[in-house]
């Protein structure tokens, strides 16, 4: 069953008098209970997409959000303020990147989780708070209720943020680089917690990350974004084993562990294009070793025989 569906979503604003679009023509869907990873580098539009799904794009000059976002059949872009406050939290919840800035330093953890769960109404809030803390595997949950954020380690703080996010039992949890600010040993434990949380609660999850290793640990499906567009979308295993977009292939190659004694690391030449200087045709073509004259025409995102979606005129592995 489709839970979230976007069609042709675009976000644009005016920058020095010209219209620039961090994301354009983004169409994808997430089934109930599915875990999807959105992978891309800075400027790929992955965080903008996450914010657009929650209607949390910060105001900007000439801001336009176009296309369709449907959640459980309802039109998110047409929601009233009241509907939105139900949608955010009970429908979709967000774990943002930085646990240092996403908690209020003057309120206890219990109070901040309680604020969220009280919105659902009914039941004993303090019981629900402990339950939420237990679900994110916070050590000594009863004792932590009275703690302030500064009294917790980075990993525990991110668990507290997670507890706020799941307090209203959302159907979809969006995590935007949830472990980038954490140490590796803490990161792995946090991701494993997310995996078990998703299973026990039957939530869908959208994990936004630049790190293929992180996404590979958590997600069944991977969507790769480049310069504001989806370039490849398919089952995680297939994409990692046999990337078909040249950009995905380069990302996968950089994420593989380096052979002992290697003289050079594999590189993607150049850098992702600036917002106001994206190439007119295939956006990856200036950095692509396999670009041909036809790549001056923008490729469409098409469904391949294997079910994958791909935006490339000459994909890898094609005859």
């Amino acid at each position: 069953m489709t839970l979230l569906e976007t069609h042709d979503v675009g976000v644009s604003f005016l920058y020095r008098g010209t219209r620039v679009a961090p994301i354009k023509g983004v169409s994808f869907s997430v089934a109930a209970g599915e875990s999807v990873g959105i992978v891309g580098e800075s400027g790929s539009g992955k965080s903008t997409l996450a914010l657009a799904l929650l209607r949390l794009i910060p105001p900007a000059r000439g801001l336009q959000v176009s296309g369709q976002i449907r959640f459980g059949g309802r039109d998110v872009l047409a929601m009233s303020a009241k509907e939105l406050s139900e949608y955010r939290g009970a429908g979709v919840a967000l774990i943002p990147q930085d646990p240092m800035t996403s908690l209020n330093p003057t309120l206890t953890i219990g109070r901040q989780i309680g604020e969220a769960s009280a919105l659902s109404g009914g039941g004993d809030v303090s019981v629900q708070v402990v339950e939420a803390l237990r679900a994110v595997q916070m050590p000594e949950p009863e004792a932590r209720i009275a703690s302030y954020p500064h009294q917790l380690s980075g990993g525990m703080r991110q668990r507290a943020v997670g507890a706020v996010a799941i307090a209203r039992a959302p159907k979809l949890l969006i995590a935007d680089e949830p472990t980038t600010a954490l140490d590796v040993t803490v990161q792995k434990k946090f991701l494993d917690m997310l995996v078990s949380l998703r299973r026990t609660r039957g939530m869908a999850m959208l994990l936004v990350s630049h790190d293929l290793g992180v996404v590979a640990r958590v997600c069944e499906r991977i969507i790769v974004m480049y310069a504001g567009q989806i370039v490849e979308d398919g089952p995680a295993q297939d994409i990692l084993a046999q990337p078909r977009h040249w950009y995905t292939a380069a990302l996968v190659a950089s994420a593989r562990s380096v052979a002992a004694g290697a003289k050079r690391l594999p590189v993607i030449p150049g850098a992702p294009p600036q917002l106001n200087a994206r190439p007119p045709g295939c956006r990856f073509s200036p950095r692509c070793a396999n670009a041909k004259p036809e790549c001056a025409e923008p490729p469409a995102l098409t469904v391949q025989p294997d079910g994958r979606r791909l935006r490339c005129h000459f994909p890898r592995g094609a005859a």
């Binding site: 980075g154 140490d183 040993t185 590979a216 990692l240 380069a250 994420a255 003289k263 050079r264």
Partner: protein
């Protein structure tokens, strides 16, 4: 092997701590570094790996003489730097160069790139003409162009800024560059470019590196020797491949097993 350029012997660094007075109770001092020994050589790369709070950046600050250890000695060319002054201090400042993690805060946004790169050379007694030549040489070496000297840091991407920081470090022809997480704020595709560049520079100039990182695959690619830090102590040291594949210390094993790989 030749004598180390820079060495640390029994470095201890404590922060805070006080006896009980009428102003407050006793507080335990934090031992950020707890008896660290190390040696850095020209032409070689020493990797320091550890998580936040392990003391790796505190160690870098002691090695750069940005801070003074509570106990122990830093040796530069075999002599203590405790009371270093005058010509020898200038010599230290020229021959040991830093590259920091975040090129958005380590480059003065109001200075032109050429001035930024020339600044460390001013202590080295170079003439303005020499400096100008070396600035251009350094820019070209890191893959930027001579024209970039006139521009400001704000006009460059993150990866280009880190190249500028590296150009600043190499322009004074140092013996040793201390790199504190030089690629962790960079995109994956830019990381490899910067690491390849560092390796080329080492091959070409014979400069030594101390590379602080939390990324094991960076260590494996870059380093001749690795030391693993945990709570201010060196818990394991040795060959990077050996440490990544057969860690002996319990903490190192946890660190290695936490690395998420797609292999």
């Amino acid at each position: 092997m030749r004598a180390p350029i820079l060495a640390a012997k029994g470095i201890v660094k404590t922060f805070g701590g006080r006896r009980a007075t009428m102003l407050g109770p006793e507080a335990q001092a934090v031992r950020a570094l707890d008896g660290v020994d190390m040696e850095a050589h020209a032409g070689r790369t020493l990797g320091i790996v550890g998580e936040s709070g392990s003391g790796k950046t505190t160690l870098a600050r002691q090695l750069l003489m940005l801070d003074q250890p509570s106990e122990g000695e830093i040796l530069f060319d075999g002599l203590s730097v405790a009371h270093i002054a005058g010509e020898r201090r200038r010599d230290f400042r020229r021959r040991i160069q830093p590259v920091f993690q975040n090129p958005y805060s380590s480059l003065d946004p109001r200075m032109r790139v050429g001035e930024i790169i020339a600044e460390p050379m001013r202590v080295a007694g170079t003439t303005p003409v020499e400096r100008r030549e070396r600035v251009i040489g350094a820019l070209v070496k890191v893959g930027l162009s001579a024209d970039d000297a006139r521009r400001f840091p704000g006009e460059f991407s993150g990866g280009q800024r880190q190249r500028i920081a590296i150009a600043r470090a190499i322009a004074s022809r140092p013996d040793l560059i201390i790199l504190d997480e030089p690629v962790s704020s960079q995109d994956i595709s830019v990381r490899a470019q910067i690491l390849n560049l560092l390796k080329d520079l080492q091959e070409e100039t014979g400069v030594g590196f101390i590379l602080i990182t939390h990324d094991l695959s960076t260590l494996r690619f870059m380093c001749d020797e690795v030391m693993v830090m945990h709570r201010g102590k060196v818990v394991e040291r040795g060959d990077p491949a050996r440490i990544c594949d057969h860690p002996e210390n319990a903490y190192t094993r946890e660190l290695v097993s936490s690395v998420l790989s797609i292999d």
